[in-house]
Symmetry: C2
Subunit: 239 residues, 2 copies
Amino acid sequence: MVVKSELKLIKSLQQKKCRNEHGLFVVEGKKTVEEVVNSNINAYKIFAVDPSGLKEEDIQVEKVTARELSQMSSLKNPNGYLGVFYIPKPIERITSDWVLVLDGVQDPGNLGTIIRLCDWFGISDIVCSTDTVDCYNSKVLQATMGSITRINIKYMNLESFLSETKLPIYGTFMDGISVNESRLPEKGIMVMGNEGKGVSDAVAQLCTDRLAIPQFGGVTTESLNVASATAILLHEIRK
Amino acid sequence: MVVKSELKLIKSLQQKKCRNEHGLFVVEGKKTVEEVVNSNINAYKIFAVDPSGLKEEDIQVEKVTARELSQMSSLKNPNGYLGVFYIPKPIERITSDWVLVLDGVQDPGNLGTIIRLCDWFGISDIVCSTDTVDCYNSKVLQATMGSITRINIKYMNLESFLSETKLPIYGTFMDGISVNESRLPEKGIMVMGNEGKGVSDAVAQLCTDRLAIPQFGGVTTESLNVASATAILLHEIRK
């Protein structure tokens, strides 16, 4: 049985404020829980309706009822497994050749997809503006599919980060130079902007190069989804 | 006031079966409603809490209460505007140089993003297997951002469609040839598979070319999200 105060604590982790206060975050679903357990992220507690379903034998799993699980879960239909983990401290040092910078990305699904893309393309560092959606948001974690454990994500003031680097800073803009006509260097920073407003003015001024993904045919749609644009740009970086 | 039977009808359109039965689909949100109104798709009825907010003057808008709107809406927080439209008949003839084929894509957000990508890259024809998620699903429509009005989407047996074409059929597979080393022709068919299972065996046998998007660094993530992969491939087609 899970005590009431613990149910309340876990439920509260759906809010960013409470996650930061307690230094904990929640992951749901068997596969993702297992992936985080197997990473260097420390587990606080793992709950399962059927603990025997988990492959890990040396991990402490608390058996819960479906009702208890649903009281902790952020999902309409909880899927049997919920893990609470300690939020890892971001690594200060940038180790990736290319760094992805996110300037105000708001949609959790987009951030989750972008984290997964970085994992695929071997970009191990993401630097987010402080107004970017929290990467420990449950919807972000659902979309990352475990990639969160392999990417170093920092939230900080972008202007101070970008003004200190000597790397070329590529920003994506509607009126930029076609990425098809650009030769991307071996190292650099790629800035992706907010879904509606794009890159902020302050950050745009720090960009050394302005890129665009060319549209084909009539100009009808307003923009590419930021996750789709990131997919294309990371692919170009790695070609 | 909206009569009860009409509320019930509109609510029922959240189910594919009912959409097909009545030949109607629902769009929510001011911007998307306006975009569909301005397309060649015929409106059945438009509802708004504040009809004066809509730009269109020559369109019949029924004023509804917030309560009535929430009874029709599929959203937790309905956003003031809801349009019911007639499902357009797909155009038989393929007009696009490249055709995108979807073999069992299940996630509505993925299909919505893919439709939007086709719009951006000027691919006007999508052919879906009959087990692909319905493009008039509300979550698909939310993700398409109005692109649905510009793309011709057909659901049919893929084997019969693919066995009749003379175009090269590119399938995407984990073990395919790197898209970076392939020269894509001016016309062709690009097949994207299901999120978990990829391209089905029957369809794979009809593919003339097997493509892959190369991963970078350690092989850690299982796969690219299908919408991200589509973004990269359509970009390559248009380069």
